[in-house]
Amino acid sequence: MSEEKHHISSYKSHLFVLLALFVLTGASVAVTSLEMGPFNTLVAMLIAGGKAAIVLIWFMHLKFDNKLYAIFTTFVLVIFLLVLYVTFFDYSYR
């Protein structure tokens, strides 16, 4: 099997990921003090989703890899979101 070229990320990029994760973790904690009713969970999930996206795209190199990996990852995330939607569909109409 032939050797494949690997993208090497800069320290700046890693620093950006670290800072973004710190900021978003702070935001996760901060939003708990806001009273948003049923949207509390949604906002918390969106922030967590943002953090996961940053880790996947930059830290795990999805941005620089073969596009096939990005397609499969997106497919998996879509399934995950659909599973969440279907589960909460039950809760929202109880």
């Binding site: 998996v76 399934i79 599973v83 279907v86 589960t87 569909f89 039950d90 929202s92 109880r94």
Partner: protein
């Protein structure tokens, strides 16, 4: 590769590597040996779980106490379920035939990660040992294999080892899934485009994705249940503000797709066998591929039909019922394709063909009774009755079990280089088939009459159905004994297979040596034609 001597034209069974004797097996990274390790392990535990099933049916041969009391009965159906589901049927065909034949069918020398593959088997064994440790750490659980909340953390019975064991077994499944996805993407022989890949690898591919994506959900759920039981965290316990229906959601988000982990590779094996014994190209190759992927995808979103009487919202009930009916379509497409493949074929009536066609028969009964359960009104009537147990066994045992036996009889000569006794194989199949129908068909009637599942006792009006069913169990076990004895004996003393291809199959595995060598091929084959060209 860690093996030390050259493997040219020495069968993988006789190959002497770094380790000798049993160590040469349990430390071998060869995909074929790993596949057989799974087979032998499953054979042992299938025998144990089948005996437990037989004992339960003997208990039910008459109302009241026959050979065991209620607590023993509860533990019996729990252990029977845990072994059959987590140790036998979920790993089932992918672990045995996937490991053995996936590289052979796509023209590879091994799976993508051979060491990870061996590690999967070891993790599987560790999971089994943890489940079995229940015997020495406070007795067996009594929750059923579903571990439903809140009972699973309130029962005085010993539940933790079984929960941990099932959690560990999940890792084995995930790692096998990852291995297969990468193997199929990266290691297909030159010329084997996606649409020239045989159908068994296709179904393994669809299954592998479910294994990777759905299994973590059950892992988290079982861990949460452990935390609930040990620490009282209150996720599922209504007394602590938790929601027991959330447990059911999470459990079935895995466990319904798990039914497709069980059945899809079985469908793949059947799709391999029917063209060979009909001497005809498979009818609608692309339709079978697409329906496999559709089953894997839609199968994700139907879990709620296990919870129609649990207290979900009305709108969720409608949605899940609709989706359940939707998943019946790709399953029916497959059945249509199989029947159309046999139609006007030049039939070669051998044991694998008998198992494969009886698979279609029992799978259809299981599938159609599944629609009774997918429909809201009828589900309420038969929920938690023997009807569900019968349906479930028609699909999981009738579906996956028959496909497993079909695959074993089909690939046996390639795996062991010997042929089994066809007469005994056919007698075994006929006895098993008769016993199976006698065992499970009356349970549909018992369920419609209102006999609940998971009770060691019943009212006198259910007696006749239970007598017939219990006699069927004895007949079926007799059939299983004939089949297993014949295969075990033939693996050592059966007539040697001289050629590479005793059935006249067209897929790549039949071009390898019988039994295959360590790395399968002297040269990686080049693929120029589709896998089912019988013109």
């Amino acid at each position: 590769m860690s093996e030390t001597t050259t493997a040219k034209h020495v069968s993988f069974l006789e190959y002497k590597g770094k380790y000798k004797g049993i160590l040469g097996w349990i430390f071998s990274t060869d995909h074929k040996r790993v596949g057989l390790l799974y087979l032998y392990t499953m054979l042992v535990f299938f025998s144990i779980a089948a005996i437990l099933g037989l004992l339960m049916k003997i208990q039910l041969i008459a109302p009241g106490y026959t050979i065991m009391g209620p607590q023993t009965y509860n533990s019996m159906f729990t252990v029977h379920g845990i072994i059959m589901i987590f140790i036998i049927v979920v790993p089932g065909l992918p672990a045995v035939f996937g490991n053995f034949f996936l590289p052979l069918m796509i023209g590879a020398k091994d799976v993508a990660f051979p060491r990870l593959n061996l590690a999967s088997w070891w993790i599987y064994i560790i999971g089994i040992l943890v489940v079995l440790s229940s015997q020495f750490l406070g007795g067996w659980p009594d929750t059923g294999w579903t571990f439903y909340a809140p009972y699973s953390f309130r029962t005085p019975a010993n539940v933790l080892p079984a929960l941990f064991g099932a959690f560990i077994l999940g890792f084995s499944s995930i790692l096998t899934g990852i291995n297969f996805v990468v193997t199929i993407h990266r290691m297909r022989a030159p010329g084997m485009t996606w649409l020239k890949m045989p159908l068994f690898p296709w179904t393994l591919y669809a299954t592998a994705w479910i294994q990777v994506l759905a299994t973590p959900v059950i892992g988290i759920t079982l861990l949460l249940t452990v935390m609930e039981r040990v620490l009282g965290v209150g996720v599922f316990d209504p007394a602590l503000g938790g929601d027991p229906i959330l447990y059911q959601h999470l459990f079935w988000i895995y466990s319904h797709p798990a039914v497709y982990i069980m059945i899809l590779p079985g469908m793949g094996a059947i799709s391999e066998i029917l063209p060979v014994f009909s001497r005809k190209s498979i009818y609608g190759y692309k339709a079978i591929v697409l329906s496999s992927l559709a089953i894997a995808f839609v199968g994700y979103f139907v879990w709620g039909h296990h919870m129609f009487t649990s207290g979900m919202s009305g709108r969720a009930l409608y949605a899940f019922s609709f989706l359940t009916f939707l998943v019946a379509i790709p399953s029916a497409i497959k059945v249509f394709n199989w029947v159309a493949t046999i139609h006007k074929g030049s039939l070669n009536l051998q044991t694998p063909f008998y198992w494969a066609t009886s698979f279609i028969f029992v799978f259809m009964i299981g599938g159609l009774t599944g629609l009774v359960l997918g429909s809201l009104a009828t589900n309420v009537h038969v929920h938690d009755t023997h009807f569900v147990v019968a349906h479930f066994h028609f699909i999981v045992f009738g579906g996956t079990g028959y496909a497993f036996m079909a695959a074993l009889h089909y690939w046996f000569p390639k795996m062991f280089g010997r042929m089994y006794d066809a007469s005994w194989a056919n007698i075994g199949w006929a006895t098993f088939f008769g016993g199976f129908l006698t065992l499970y068909l009356p349970m549909f009637a018992l369920g419609l009459q209102g006999m609940p599942r998971r009770y060691y006792d019943y009212l006198p009006e259910f007696h006749t159905g239970n007598i017939i069913s219990s006699l069927g169990a004895i007949l079926m076990i007799a059939g299983a004994l004939i089949v297993i004895t014949n295969l075990v004996r033939s693996s050592r003393h059966g007539e040697k297979v001289t050629g590479k291809n005793p059935w006249g199959g067209r897929t790549l595995e039949w071009e390898s040596d019988t039994p295959p060598t360590l790395e399968n091929w002297d040269e990686i084959p080049k693929v120029t034609e589709g896998p089912y060209d019988y013109k």
